[in-house]
Symmetry: C2
């Protein structure tokens, strides 16, 4: 037995909505287990009627049936348990219970004292539109591909895409520091190519290099890219660490728009009974770590996301969330010219289309195809949006 303990807390609590994929009795038992698994990680019967039980234990605030084998539980935790930093906040929300096959994070809500620790998206939709001089209408992004091309040919592509008026030309996320197109060589040449195109057209295309480390070098890489003229950075939080992504996004001296990529993030979302909802991961988490754009696989593309999941990502990116700016959902992963009209109706205006391969498949030059894409996506009648 642990001797009774006084615990000084503010009384503020964060709340996580979990789905529990089991019948009512088991679902409640799992939720109850989580209240201690995520906090004291200790036999609850060894804790008296004290401050630890009152304040440190998670608390089931709501438990309800959605279907026979689907329940929702809101569990709250003392804000102090988060230690007011991201790794421990993640641990509190989904550390050990990431090992529970039947429990998933649907969404979370942070009290102001915790939310305020995170700067969140520096630009968001509004700031990004200002930076890109694109006050309305959908935004457009492509990726420099394929891996294996030398830096000068990637830069030549970047030039054409910038001539084509795309808003952002990013590295393919697999471009790191490979010998066939070393990081510094590629970034310098692509920055120059995009600047040259902008000077010629009066455009505002931004080049976003992939920043992926290793850890010892990642901050320096980001600053170096900025010095070369990179106007945004491409970041895969699950590859470099969510808290490293946050650290880069929050760096005022860096201060660039951040484009979040889902590489190695899939295992957190593909199970319907474990991990995070699409809403939480591609919306809330991306905003928490300060991404301004959230890339995800479009429905009907190379991956298995449903329209409903894509719609929930849009909501996660734009629903009110403390001081966190709304961010730009960016569907990609096999986007084609053919499905642009459907996408335009589905996503509306506040979207950044990410088209890769299909820009290369069309008859015209890359530059021409970019303009064709833009024309196609700007549905003149406004369509049936969302």
């Amino acid at each position: 037995m642990i001797a009774d303990t006084q615990v000084a807390v503010s009384g503020e609590r964060l709340t996580v909505t979990y789905s529990l994929h089991a019948g009512p009795k088991d679902a409640l038992a799992i939720a109850e287990k989580a209240t201690t698994e995520q906090t004291i990680e200790f036999p609850p019967e060894l804790i008296g009627d004290d401050g630890i039980r009152d304040h440190i234990f998670g608390r089931i605030e709501r438990f309800e049936a959605v279907e026979e084998r689907l329940h929702h539980a809101d569990i709250s935790y003392a804000v102090e348990c988060s230690a007011f930093n991201l790794p421990q906040l993640f641990n509190l929300i989904y550390g050990n219970i990431s090992l529970f096959p039947q429990m998933r994070v649907e969404r979370f809500a942070l009290p102001q004292s915790l939310a305020s620790v995170f700067k969140g998206p520096r630009f968001g939709i509004a700031g990004l539109r200002e930076t890109l001089a694109a006050p309305k209408g959908p935004l457009f992004m492509t990726a420099l591909k394929p891996q294996g091309l030398p830096a000068n040919r990637l830069a030549a592509q970047a030039y054409e895409f910038a001539r084509g008026g795309l808003d952002i030309v990013k590295d393919d996320h697999g471009l790191a520091n490979q010998p066939f197109a070393p990081f510094r060589e590629r970034v310098a040449q692509c920055c120059d190519a995009v600047a040259r195109a902008n000077a010629e057209t009066g455009g505002n295309t931004v080049y976003a290099p992939m920043i992926s480390g290793p850890s010892e070098q990642i901050v320096e890489q980001a600053f170096w890219a900025k010095e070369q003229g990179a106007g945004a950075l491409l970041i895969a939080p699950a590859l470099i660490g969510f808290d490293v992504a946050r650290r880069l996004a929050q760096d005022d001296a860096l201060g660039l728009p951040m484009i979040g990529h889902p590489a190695m993030m899939g295992s957190y979302v593909v199970s319907p009974t474990n991990g995070f909802s699409h809403y939480a991961m591609f919306g809330q988490v991306m905003r928490l770590v300060g991404m301004d754009v959230s890339i995800f696989p479009n429905f009907g593309g190379r991956f298995a996301f449903s329209p409903g999941e894509c719609r929930s990502i849009m909501a996660g990116c734009t629903d009110p969330m403390d001081h966190f700016a709304s961010i730009v959902p960016s569907p990609g992963g096999g986007m084609t010219f053919e499905n642009v009209p459907d996408m335009a109706r589905f996503y509306g205006e506040d979207v950044m289309y990410l088209m890769g391969g299909d820009l290369h498949k069309q008859a015209g030059t890359l530059e021409e195809n970019c303009w064709k894409l833009r024309a196609l996506a700007n549905v003149p009648d406004g369509g049936e949006v969302r």
Copy 2:
């Protein structure tokens, strides 16, 4: 069409064994998709008969049926595609395809030119036994709990556990920098308490504080803890970032044993059809990032791991793997006195038992219970090991 491209590569390739959870035709189609999804991420029909196709594309080296809806594919990638760093290596192994619900990493094999980039476990089983002055027999670890106790009471526990002769006393992984037991206060007091107990008993107990950041401070935290006398560090790679874990482990000036914790790693292993096998994640990945001890949930405890999965973790920790030292599997997560004899037969000698709550449940003092645990786990007749 991309103009033909020459690509200079060494010819060395890494190989990943994936399981594909589909019938033969679909499984092969998924494997084929992965060869480009993980590399060029581009329509393969736009690539000619050139160096990119020959070298950059992943290559299916083996494809075979295991069951009607379970196939294995070995896919190799040019070592240069890894950029010889961990984030891009992870991206290559399981970046975008982490979004494939039917494809899982079973194991991987790195050529020497890539393996040699990673130092791997600095101590491993042999080095850890030397550090702990425990040349044979099982090793023992506990955690300071519950969250909510002030630093002096956690330190008092640490003292008792060290008096009890446990090899490692670690922070509970949820202890970060909470106001009720701030990081510096807790680490300093626990280091002192363990040193005092060691001085009294002549023992070698090591205290391992949880190092969880935030990123801006994590390296400094680790060094500061070492200065206070911490003899090992507790790290959760999925919380702080796998590459940050590697960076800490590889730091020669730090040079402490690393204990890997699975917090937020669960979603990578709980699905049988997505993520990583237990062998790959708790064995190979932990060794790659330089953990000396791999904590995982024991079968029959609070989590759902099976004996077979635990056995595969043991294999992943100790199978030959380039220059990577064998590391110590550390089953925890609800270990009880009652199941110690079974565990002793199952795990054999090269194991580090992680017992938390049950040490508090026994009749004796914590110190007495530690000795009782040790006696119980040292099966005198050698038992039926593994």
